[in-house]
C-alpha cells in the first residue's frame, strides 16, 4: 500500500549502514516488524476505520475489528514484499539502506515468505469474517502495490506514485465493503481524496530527497522532469485536490466539522502549494555544501512545509468524518444535493 516512502524516523536510518550492507546478521523479531512498515500501516488502519464507520451499516464490533486487522496485515504484507523486491535500490539510498534486508539482518527469502504468508492469511480471514468483495479488494490492493507499483511502475515511470497511489487509496473502500458488502460512490470519494492527495504530498517530499532517488536510478518526478516541472505539477494536483475534498459535503457524507476542516485546510494547502511553486525548492544543490539527508536547504523549506501540512490535512479530514459518523452529526441538508452516493 502506499509506501509513499514517508521519511522514516531517525531510528530507522542506520548510522553506519555501509559497513553492514550484505553481511548476514542476527534477525530480531523487531526486524520482521520493520518489514511491515508499521508507520504506513497506521495510516492505512486509520483510513480503513473511517471507511468502515462511514458505511453506517450494522457490523459486530469484533468482526469490524477483525476486518481492520486484516487490512493492517495486508498492508504489512505489501510492505514486506516491497522490501524484498526493492532491496537492491534500498541499499543505495541513505534513507533506506538501514532496512532489514539491505542491512543483511533478514534474508530476502524470509521477507518474501513473510509477505506471501501474510497476504494469504489476511485475504482468507477477511473473506471468512466479512465478505468476499472486501477480501477481493484487499487481494487486489496487495497485488497492485507489489506487482504494479513495486515491480513495474516504481522503476519505469515518473508517474509511479500517481498510479501506484491507488493502492494507498483503497483501504477506506475495503473498510466500507467489509460492512455493507457494496462500494457506493461515497466510498470511492474517500478513495479519490487519498488518490489526489498522494502526488502533491509525495512530490513535496521528493523535492528535498531527490538526490537519493537519483543515486538509485529511481525516476521520481524531480529526477526525471526536474524541480520546476514538479513544482508546477504539485500546484495543479493541489488545485484538483481541494474540490475533491469538498465533494463529500455535497453528497451528504461530510457535515459541518468536515466542511470547516476541508475548506480551511484546503485554503492553507493551496497557499503552501503556491508558495512552493514560486520557490526554488529542489533546484540544483550547491555541491560545496555537504548537507545531510534531511538538512533542508533554505529554498526547500516550502517543500517541507507542504509535505508536513499534507499529512495533517488528510488526518484532520478523516478524523472529522470519523467523529461525525461516530457521534451522529447530521450533514448539511441544504448543501447535500447530490443524492444517491451511498448506494
Amino acid at each position: 500500500m502506499t509506501d509513499l516512502s514517508a521519511p522514516l524516523s531517525v531510528s530507522e536510518i542506520s548510522a553506519e549502514p555501509s559497513e553492514t550492507v550484505g553481511q548476514e546478521q542476527t534477525a530480531r523479531w523487531q526486524d520482521f516488524l520493520a518489514l511491515m512498515k508499521p508507520r504506513v500501516m497506521s495510516l492505512v488502519v486509520f483510513t480503513a476505520l473511517t471507511g468502515l464507520v462511514c458505511a453506517g451499516g450494522k457490523i459486530n464490533p469484533l468482526i469490524g475489528a477483525v476486518a481492520v486487522f486484516c487490512i493492517a496485515v495486508g498492508a504489512g504484507a505489501s510492505g514486506a514484499l516491497n522490501m524484498w523486491y526493492d532491496a537492491d535500490i534500498d541499499a543505495q539510498m541513505r534513507r533506506t539502506r538501514g532496512r532489514p534486508v539491505p542491512a543483511g539482518r533478514v534474508q530476502p527469502a524470509d521477507a518474501l515468505t513473510l509477505g506471501v504468508v501474510m497476504s494469504l492469511f489476511s485475504v482468507m480471514l477477511m473473506g471468512m469474517a466479512t465478505n468476499w468483495l472486501a477480501a477481493g479488494l484487499l487481494a487486489f490492493t496487495i497485488l497492485f502495490y507489489a506487482l504494479i507499483y513495486t515491480m513495474w511502475l516504481k522503476r519505469s515511470t515518473p508517474q509511479n506514485i500517481v498510479i501506484g497511489g491507488l493502492a494507498g487509496a483503497l483501504p477506506p473502500v475495503i473498510g466500507w465493503a467489509a460492512v455493507s458488502g457494496t462500494t457506493p460512490l461515497n466510498a470511492w470519494l474517500l478513495c479519490a481524496i487519498i488518490f489526489m492527495w498522494t502526488p502533491p504530498h509525495f512530490w513535496a517530499l521528493s523535492l528535498y530527497t531527490s538526490e537519493d532517488y537519483a543515486k538509485a536510478g529511481v525516476p521520481m518526478m524531480p529526477v526525471a522532469k526536474g524541480a520546476k516541472s514538479t513544482r508546477l505539477q504539485i500546484l495543479v494536483y493541489s488545485l484538483l485536490l481541494v474540490p475533491v475534498c469538498l465533494a463529500p459535503v455535497l453528497t451528504g457524507l461530510g457535515g459541518p466539522a468536515y466542511l470547516a476542516v476541508s475548506g480551511l485546510g484546503g485554503a492553507v494547502f493551496l497557499l503552501l502549494a503556491v508558495r512552493l511553486f514560486l520557490s526554488r525548492a529542489g533546484d540544483a544543490a550547491d555541491p560545496r555544501i555537504d548537507a545531510g539527508l534531511y538538512d533542508v536547504r533554505a529554498a526547500a523549506k516550502d517543500a517541507r512545509n507542504l509535505f508536513a501540512f499534507s499529512i495533517l490535512y488528510l488526518f484532520l479530514m478523516f478524523a472529522a468524518l470519523l467523529a461525525e459518523h461516530m457521534f451522529g452529526i447530521e450533514p448539511f441538508a441544504a448543501l447535500s444535493f447530490l443524492q444517491g452516493f451511498n448506494r
Binding site: W29, N60, L62, I63, L125, M128
Partner: protein, 64 residues
C-alpha cells in the same frame, strides 16, 4: 545402596564454548521463536472467536 560414580569416557567430544556472539544469536532466535509461538496461539484464538461470532445462535437453532 550407593551407586558407583559414572566415569566420563575419555574420548567424549569436547563441547565448544559459546562465544558472546553465539549467545547473542541464540537469544535472538529464542525470542523470535517465542514471538512466532505467540502469533500462532493468537491465530488459533482469532479463528475460534470469529467462528463463534459468525455462528452466533445458529447452532442452537439448527434443525435436529
Amino acid at each position: 545402596m550407593t551407586k558407583a560414580p559414572v566415569e566420563k569416557p575419555t574420548d567424549a567430544p569436547i563441547q565448544p564454548r559459546m562465544g558472546p556472539e553465539d549467545s547473542e544469536q541464540a537469544k535472538a532466535r529464542n525470542i523470535r521463536n517465542i514471538v512466532l509461538g505467540l502469533s500462532l496461539v493468537g491465530f488459533v484464538i482469532l479463528i475460534f472467536v470469529v467462528t463463534v461470532v459468525k455462528l452466533g445462535g445458529n447452532v442452537g437453532n439448527r434443525p435436529l
